[in-house]
Structure formats: C-alpha cells, structure tokens
Amino acid sequence: MLSAEEWAIVALSARISLVAVGASFPVALGLAWVLARWRFPGKILLDALVHLPLVIPPVVTGWLLLILFGPAGPVGAWLERSFGVVLVFRWTGAALAAAVMALPLMVRAMRLSIEAVDPRLEAAARTLGAGWWRVRWTISLPLALPGMLAGLVLGFARSIGEFGATVTFASNIPNETRTLPLAIYSALQLPGGEAAVLRLSLISIALSLAALVASEWLARRHGQAHVL
C-alpha cells in the first residue's frame, strides 16, 4: 500500500508530534493549573496569549518563531551559543512549531478537567496529613486524568496536522521536516502525484479521526462536557 518513502513520512510525523506533545505537556499542565486555580490581574491576557496560536494565521506563528528562535533571534542565538542547538530547518524545529500550535488545545482540555476537581476533596486530604504536592499527586491529578489524556491526544492530532507554522519555521525538507501535510502538499505539485496524495490523505484522516474519538471517549468517561 504505502511505499517505504511514505512510511518514513508517517514515522517522521509521528516522531515530531510525540516530541511536540511530550515537550509541551509540562508547560500545558502548568498553564492549565494557573488558569484554572489562580486569580491574578492579567489572567485574561495570559488566557488570550495561550489561545493566540489558535486564531492567528499559522504562517504568522511560524514567522514569530523565526524571529525568536532563528539563528539571529534572541532565543535561537542563545540556544546555539550555549548548547549548540539549532532548531530552524530541523525536525526539532518542526516539533517546536507543532508544540506551539498544539498548546492551546491541550491547555483547554486540561484546564476543564482541573476545574472539575472538587477542592473540598483536596481540603479533606490536607486534614488527613497530605502536603500540597502529595494532594496534587494522589487526588487532583488522578481525578483530572481523563481530561489530561484527552488533552494529550488532541495535542497529538493537532501536531500531526500542523502545516503553516512548520513550513514557515522549519521549511519543507525531505526526511527532516517534511511531515504528512507537507508531503501531501508537495505531492500535489507533482504531475501524477494524485495516488500518493490520496494514500497520505487517508492516513492523516484516519489518524485524526482516531485521536478525536479517543479524546471524546476519555472526556465522556469522566462525565465531562466536550473538550472542543
């Protein structure tokens, strides 16, 4: 069915998305916690900033990443100087772009599940002798777990589909940053590429559908409203 080259594209996409989701998970969890539980001036602004990648054109997100993480950008120059890490035009850069684009969806799902945790149960745990971290680990997180998993799955699906920010920041380099959507776009440009487009499109549809079903199932098991 798929050629070896096409399998390699699927594998690259999966690797980039897994790294993107894994790296953004702690960030998403922290942001979700702060947005769900803390009250502070400027919270609306933080909320808006987190959601920004959801609404601005992805190409703009990619361009902002270039400015920040590019060789001349403040973060990019520092990373290269201190750790020898270059993100631009690398698969790691594609993962960064995917992570930024997936973050809002992950934060949304996780925030909802944290808000659904009853603080009275956490208070009960404290009176029984559990400190702050133990309460999070034994009570809050397990109760929020289905929403956490739903957030991860949604983030993964969003990463798999990421195009605009990736092509702007990491470019379209075979075997490095050419993920499924980029490969489909490239195949469309070639005469006789329709069969490849069809195969790769079917794969992306199947992956996305599976992820959506999985996240809805997880959220429902928790008795939560839709995460989308």
Partner: protein, 209 residues
C-alpha cells in the same frame, strides 16, 4: 485545657466569632444556619485563616494571629465533613488508609482492624465510595479521620443527611469514640437531642439571620 479557641473572621459582610475554652471532651457548637459553624471548624482545621485570635489544643498553639499558623496537614485534627468527601477514584480500603500512611508509627493510636471493627465497615472495604449509602459513607469518613491519628476530631453535622435509624447507629459510634478512645471532639449540630446525648459543653454561635 483541651480546647482553647478564640477566633474572628470577616467573610463578606458577615463577622464570624467564636470562643471555646473548656476541658470537656466533647464540645457541641449549636446555632442557626449562617452563624458560621462550619467556618469555625475550618479555622480549627487550618483550612480557613482567622483574622484574629488563636487556636490551641492541649496547650499546643496551632494558630496565633501574632505568628504561628500550622498547616492543616501538620495539625493532626481529624475532620468529618457534612458531605462525606470520600475520594471517588479509590475504593473504601484505600480511603481508610490514606491518612494512616502519612503518619509515623509512634503517632498512630488505632489500627485499621480496630477501626473497621468499631465502625462495622469490614464488608465495605472493596466497595467504591459511589456505591455506599449515606450512613455507610459517613462511617467510612469517620474511620478515615480516626486512622489519620488525630489528637482531636471535628464533626460537621455528620448526621444531617441520614435517616433516624442510621443517625442512632452513628451516635452510638461517636459515644464509643468519646468514652473508649477519649478523643476530644467538636461536634456541630442543630439537633438539641444529639447535643444533649453527646456533649459536655455547649457553645452557642449567634450572628446568623
């Protein structure tokens, strides 16, 4: 002096104030709803910070507006809430052991078997909290609090949600805790008959409308 409590706290436009100074083993707190009885218990447990005053237990200062504020997990005060607040993602046995696991052996003064016998909950250990009746859940909640090795027990209308037959069962258990375990208790209720049966000292809280 087992309880030496004098706290004040402004909540919105309501001022909650209470003073309990007594050697009695069981103190009943009565008063109309809105008088701040639950807030008083929360202040004793460390879940709500008083604006002023102090909380002392057997001469040990747990809170003083001047400085000391022992966090709830270090106060060793068992709290049985109006709603049982069992952890829904774990079975009864895990709920019972939650607090016991967090205390060192020297602090524990009752074993799991003794607790289970006292409360008659041996047949519930593998059940999920959502499958318990109101009376069963409240027994487990009492057991969970006892097993956390408390030096005092707070009970916030633990009978409010129960029918008369089950109320009597829990009251009997509370009498046993008072008489055989000699555990100081603050018992919040609006039922004068319960209070007469249990308490050696009654504090009336006013201020509610």
């Amino acid at each position: 002096m087992s309880f030496d409590i004098d706290v004040r706290r402004q909540l919105g436009r309501r001022e909650i104030a209470a003073r309990i100074v007594t050697d009695a083993r069981v103190v009943a707190v009565v008063g109309s709803s809105g008088a701040g009885k639950t807030s008083l218990l929360n202040m004793v447990a460390g879940l709500l910070r008083p604006d002023a005053g102090h909380v002392r237990l057997d001469g040990d200062t747990l809170f003083d507006a001047g400085g000391a504020d022992v966090p709830p997990e270090q106060r060793r005060i068992g709290y049985v809430f109006q709603e049982h607040r069992l952890f829904p993602h774990r079975r009864v046995g895990w709920n019972l052991d939650y607090g016991a696991r967090l205390r060192i052996a020297e602090e524990r003064w009752i074993t799991r078997d003794e607790t289970v016998d006292l409360l008659g909950i041996g047949h519930l250990l593998d059940r999920w909290p959502r499958n318990l009746s109101g009376g069963e859940a409240q027994r487990v909640a009492i057991g969970r609090a006892l097993l956390s090795a408390p030096r005092a027990l707070l009970l916030d209308e633990p009978l409010a949600a129960l029918d008369p037959a089950r109320r009597d069962g829990i009251l009997t258990v509370l009498e046993q805790i008072r008489d055989t375990l000699a555990l100081p208790m603050i018992y919040v209720s609006h039922d004068r008959a319960d209070v007469a049966r249990l308490a050696g000292h009654v504090v009336e809280m006013g201020g509610g409308e």
